[in-house]
Symmetry: C2
Subunit: 317 residues, 2 copies
């Protein structure tokens, strides 16, 4: 089952010609979720030939401009190009007024329904759920309320070993229970363990998105054991005071968090524009967590079926 993250932009607030501001596309089982939407995101979406009318859910972490200034343009283009499907926005409450003020000024009456869901939370909160996926918001630690997002597959039905069906003479009801990962309790007192009867369980794939934030316990808890963690690393540890005063993270701390949370892979981004050679940040993070990569525009991270393996592709080539 598809579980991919594509980096559309990962710059920090001050603009450069080298980076686009933050935006990512998360594709889980062919459902497209946009996470943050800095200025120019709609151009990036076109550049990477993504069908943007397929995006039905947009998640905005917080209301600093480099994470949402591109949203009004994207929504306007969706409208201009004939969208009629609902679109759900998981975002801080203030966003609704920001968008409506602009639609009003241009006398735009959207042809599609915008559904606003407040993403602000003090604890892990389920924001979205379908048959195979759950998306949670969780609090982070920034200058204004900021939410991290956790994408996590629902456990699939377990596969039963044929030999056990015979051995235990399982009836259909009992098999359903076992597939749903529940032990069978028979009237004679026998207990049949679902784990004993099943095999080759695929790893649950998961992704945690954490930008922007100071290092915090909530990230460590919510990103615990994820296949892939995107964490900001705005500064090198030589600027840790600056990181602290602006509520950002150093590459040292990002590496430590990945190590402590025992994630599969770490991708760092949201680098201050002062770093021309970002390897200084990569090297520092790798000191603490070897499985670290630098984000780049057009990077696609594919979470494979193998436990915690993440393959990285370059969509620019």
């Amino acid at each position: 089952m598809t579980f991919e993250v594509q980096i559309l932009g990962y710059g920090a607030a001050a603009p450069t010609l080298r980076h686009m501001p933050t935006s990512q596309l998360v594709n889980v089982h062919d459902k497209m979720f946009l996470v943050d939407c800095g200025e120019g995101t709609q151009v990036q979406i076109r550049k990477y030939r993504i069908k943007f009318q397929k995006i039905d859910h947009i998640f905005i972490s917080h209301l600093h401009g480099d994470h949402f200034f591109g949203l009004i343009g994207l929504l306007s283009s969706m409208h201009l190009l004939g969208r009629t499907k609902d679109l759900t926005l998981f975002a801080p409450k203030g966003l609704q007024k920001i968008l409506e003020t602009q639609f009003e000024a241009s006398e735009t009456r959207l042809k599609f329904q915008l559904i606003y869901i407040d993403s602000k939370t003090n604890q892990r909160k389920l924001l979205f759920e379908d048959k195979t996926l759950e998306i949670y918001g969780f609090p982070m630690k920034h200058r204004i309320p900021t939410t991290g997002f956790l994408f996590i597959e629902k456990p699939r039905k377990a596969k039963i070993r044929k030999s056990f069906i015979k051995a235990y003479n399982l009836c259909i009801e009992e098999m359903v229970q076992i597939k749903n990962r529940k032990d069978v309790h028979r009237s004679n007192g026998d207990v049949i363990s679902w784990e004993e009867c099943t095999f080759d369980l695929e790893q649950i794939k998961s992704y945690a998105y954490c930008s922007d934030t100071a290092p915090c316990e909530s990230v460590r808890e919510n990103a615990k054991g994820v296949s892939l963690l995107y964490h900001e690393a705005t500064f090198h540890s030589s600027l840790k005071d600056r990181a602290k005063s602006t509520f950002h993270t150093t590459s040292e701390d990002a590496g430590k968090i990945a190590q402590e949370a025992e994630v599969g892979k770490l991708v760092i981004g949201h680098f201050s524009s002062r770093y021309i050679d970002e390897n200084i940040l990569l090297n520092e993070a790798r000191t603490y967590f070897d499985q670290t990569e630098l984000a780049f525009e057009g990077m696609k991270l594919v979470i494979t079926d193998k436990a915690n393996a993440v393959r990285s592709e370059d969509m620019n080539t």
Copy 2:
């Protein structure tokens, strides 16, 4: 004296990878004026190595997104990069609320003063004036209130021919009058014509910006005789009904307007994204007005000292 217009973007509303939305930089006597500011303008400003802190005045024609969605990002960057100088915005009234709502949400307190001047007008209105330049707003005809902008040099002091100083035995007061283009009336009844005594007057340079609008009398009047006219030509005349219903102009009408207004040069832009080869628009406009050019990103139009001569340069090369 410098009088240049640089095209940063000229696309119509629907975004493409070929065009940026509308924005221009007008440089008159080394004062930088930004006209419209579609999404991504700040990146274009950086691309063409323009010092954006030199921009002290921004003009927004109307509140359709492709003309102002880049403004909030540009202002935020100016703030982030330490601007303290005032900045004046000539724009429809609604813009103030749009910007303030966003600054409030991100808890941004600008370090510089934003001065809002309402650009909406039913007749030619003086918006800006300094020693050498006047900038007027004038009404155009679009779906929402839209203002055209006219940049026009003030008449410079006339130069007196030395031979006439002697011949008329001009005193200092009389010379000042003549330099200010006023005839001298002597107590003995003699009248000395300022035009007779002066020479080699430079042509007054002027520029009219007209996007977006249906063809209208106000443009013809206000662009009368300008050195350079930028006029939208969203559609070819084969789509004149579409142009009419959306309050846009065809390339046929743009050519006719330039001819009737007797301008020096016409540059057309704001093309619908349906035109892959825009020469169809150029050719049609040229049928009516030979001195027509297509806009392109990075095009610099230099109004030279020679009467109505406009030199076009490519800043991409």
